[in-house]
Each structure stands twice: as C-alpha cells, then as structure tokens.
C-alpha cells in the first residue's frame, strides 16, 4: 500500500516529532509546577501580605503580565548575558516562561483567595489556627474550586506559549515541525499535524478541567 505523499511525510516524521513533543511536554510540565508553587505563594502574599510584601509582588506581576511572552524570552536570553548573567538557551527560555506563568497564576490565586469570605479566616483564628494552618485547611481548599478553571487556562497558555521557545533554538514540537518542513518542503501537512498535536494536549486539559470542577462542585457557601 502506498500512502499519498502528504500522509507519507506525516507518518515518516512522527518519530522525530515525538522527540520534539517530549521537549514541549517537559518544558510545559516544569513551568506549570514552578508557576503553581510560586504563583500561589505570591497570590497569598498579594492578599494577606503587609505592604512591603504585597507591593513588590504587585509590581512584578503587573510588569511581567504587561510584556509579550516573546519579549520576555528574548530579554532573558539576550539581555541578561550582557549583565554578566549567562545561562544557556534552555534555561533562559524555561525561566522566562516560568516568570510569565507565575505572574498569571499569582493573579488567579489572588482572585480565588479574595473570593473567600473573611469570616472563614476569622473562624480559623478563633479556634487557634496559625496563618499557615488557616491557609492549608480553611482558605486554600475552598479557593481551589474558584482557582481551577482559570488555572487550567494558564496551563493551556503555557503549552501554547512553549512553542515560542523554538525561537531561541530549542527543538520542541514547533521547531521539530519546522525542521521537517525545511527538509521536505511540505509545510501544509506538517502544520496540520502540529496543530492536531497541540490541540489534543490542550483538549485533554480542558476535559480534565471539567472533571475537576465537577469534583469540587460540592463546596457551596
């Protein structure tokens, strides 16, 4: 059986694209975890921190969210080495993406935490819970329901944004596709294949998001 040339190039390139896909997933997963931990911490700081904590976080978040991701990646990759801070392209791109997503997650977390009635914190105080305990057992579990849907959006944004790391020479799914195109001169089938792969990742995330939301729907005020 002979495949049409469009399908043939798709099938033949799959093992190579697989390597790129793994890099995309690896970059995305790392960024998601880092941004989750840092972002929630900053979100708590934004909501409950004294001015000297909240203010710098606000500044960081506003500046980072005000920049295009590509500018941030180029800034970390090209501008930082000029100050004597040399990092390779992988860590530069990863850091830039992580900073970008952290800023977004911090806003999502702030919104979710602020939606919790102040009486919840007071009730936690009244039984003698410390700040950390109130966060862990009272505020964050309730905020989770409001946090999840917009947070999954930031995860989807991370996967999509990770395509930009190809521009500093990291062979992720995007750059792998372009390299195949460079050799085969078959852009159309390759971009279709790439689009399908990105879509599948993100559609899976959306489905997971819906299931998670349903799971936490039992929390009602």
């Amino acid at each position: 059986m002979t495949l049409p040339p469009e399908l043939n190039v798709m099938v033949k390139s799959l093992p190579f694209l697989w390597q790129g896909l793994l890099v995309t997933l690896q970059v995305s997963a790392t960024v998601v975890v880092v941004a989750l931990v840092l972002g929630v911490t900053l979100g708590v700081g934004l909501t409950y921190g004294p001015r000297w904590i909240a203010w710098p976080i606000r500044l960081f978040s506003d500046i980072i969210r005000g920049l295009p991701l590509l500018v941030l990646i180029f800034f970390v990759y090209y501008a930082l080495p000029a100050t004597g801070w040399s990092i390779n392209n992988f860590w530069a791109a990863l850091s830039a993406l992580a900073l970008f997503e952290t800023a977004h997650v911090s806003e999502v977390a702030r919104g979710a935490i602020q939606s919790i009635h102040p009486g919840q914190n007071e009730a936690g105080k009244a039984i003698g819970l410390t700040f950390v305990q109130r966060m862990l057992y009272v505020v964050l579990p309730q905020a989770l329901r409001r946090f999840l849907p917009p947070w999954i959006n930031t995860v989807v944004d991370t996967v999509k944004g990770s395509a930009l790391v190809s521009l500093v020479g990291i062979v992720d799914l995007m750059l792998a596709i372009q390299q195949v195109i460079g050799r085969t001169f078959q852009p159309m089938p390759m971009y279709v294949l790439g689009a399908i792969m990105y879509f599948l990742i993100n559609y899976t995330l959306s489905l997971a998001s819906r299931r998670l939301e349903a799971r936490f729907a039992y929390i009602r005020e």
Binding site: G119, Q120, A123, A126, I127, G128, L129, Y137, Q142, I219
Partner: protein, 265 residues
Amino acid sequence: MHTSGNSDAALLVKVRALSKSFGANQVLKGVDLDVRAGEVVSVIGASGSGKTTLLRCINVLETYDDGSIKVDGVEVGYRETNGDRRPRGERELARIRADIGMVFQLFNLFPHLTARENVMLGLRKVRGLRHAEARTVAEQWLVRVGLGDKLDSLPFEMSGGQQQRVGIARAVAMNPKVLLLDEITSALDPELVGEVLMVVHELAREGMTMILVTHEMTFARDVSSRVVFMDGGRVAVEGPPSEVFGAQPHERLRSFLARIELKGV
C-alpha cells in the same frame, strides 16, 4: 448555677480602659469589664455602641489601641516586657485564641467540611489530638447540641439553627476558658432561635464562662448573671439582670429598651 457577684471566683477576663478607633471614629472609649469564672455576662446596647468590637478585641480579631485585656492573667493583644508593649505575633495569638472560644453571627462554618470535620479541625491541628480521639470528642459535642444525626452533613445541607449549633460545638469542643457569642441568633429565622438559645442555657448551667452580645432581651435576662449596657463606646450601666431590666433610672437605657420592646423583639 450562676456565680453571680461571687468575688471569690477567679477573675477570668479583665478589661481596663480599653479604647479602639477605626480611623477617626473612636468606637471604644475606655471600657472596663470584669468577668469571673462561671459568669454569664450579656452585653446589650444600640448598634454602634461598641459591643461587638469589644467582643472581637477580646480574642484579638480586632487590635486595640489603648488599655488592657487580660484573659486568665495574660494580656491578649500585646507582649509586655519591662513596660515595652509590642503586638503579639501570629503564633502567640493562635495559642491565646485557642483558649477563647467564639461563635459568630453568620456561623462561619467551614463549608467544605462536614459538621464533624468542622469540630475536629481545631482538635486535630491545634490541640494535637489523634484522628480517633478528635472524632470521638467532636461526635460527643455534636450529639450534645442535638445534631447526632447530622455528623456527616455539609453546612449547606443544614438549617441556620443547626449550623449555629455546629458553630457552638466547634467552639466549646476546644474547651475554652471563656466563650464569646456575637449576636448568634441575629441571622436566624425566629422559629430557629429557641433551639440555639437552649444550647447556650445548657452551657450556662454547666458553668461555662460566657460573654454574649445579644438583642434577645428575654434571653439576656434569663441566662445572664450580669448585664452590661453599652452606650457610645462606654459601659453605661452594669448589674444583675433584675436591676438593669428593672426600674431604670438611666435615660439612654430606658429609651433603648423601649425601642427594642416596640420592635417586639
């Protein structure tokens, strides 16, 4: 029974010259209050008289500017070393608050936890009880407030009266030295008020020291060993219920009680 006017009982709560401002608005203007072990003190007064703020200062949900609040001999809001006064840190406050129970007007149950888990949280994380012990204590208290059949219910599945009884169980399960009740029936439908007040009566009978802010005058008269009428950020009248609700020479108290009477409360 009440230890009304019993000066031998230990002085549990001692408030002196307490003042507190919200911005330019001075809410408390030098409040003095003594509460002895086993006493039930009702604080009444018009809204804005500072009664809720007074209550919230006692477990430092509000900080206070001047004066002193001692619970069992310990200044609650400040650490004092050789005349130097500094606000207490988060951990010290948590330790102090663990011994001061509070029940809220809007219940403030944890909506993601069942009735049992609401009561267990403090026992587990603050008192350090094992899961099984905490569970037993929580269930005992919930049974005592008449909610033995609601152990696994989430707050939204319960009526206001039931939620408030969970709120009381959550507070008393911690075995507090004093229990603060902040207008605990104000958010309830009239027919649910009784079941909550009955629980408070029960606690009073067992000698629980309580300070309650309330608009239920009949209840205040029945349950209190002492009634404090606050007016304009000060204690205006103070005495046993028979005196405060009896022939009343104090003009503002008389008009306050008349207003309450008219509303049929």
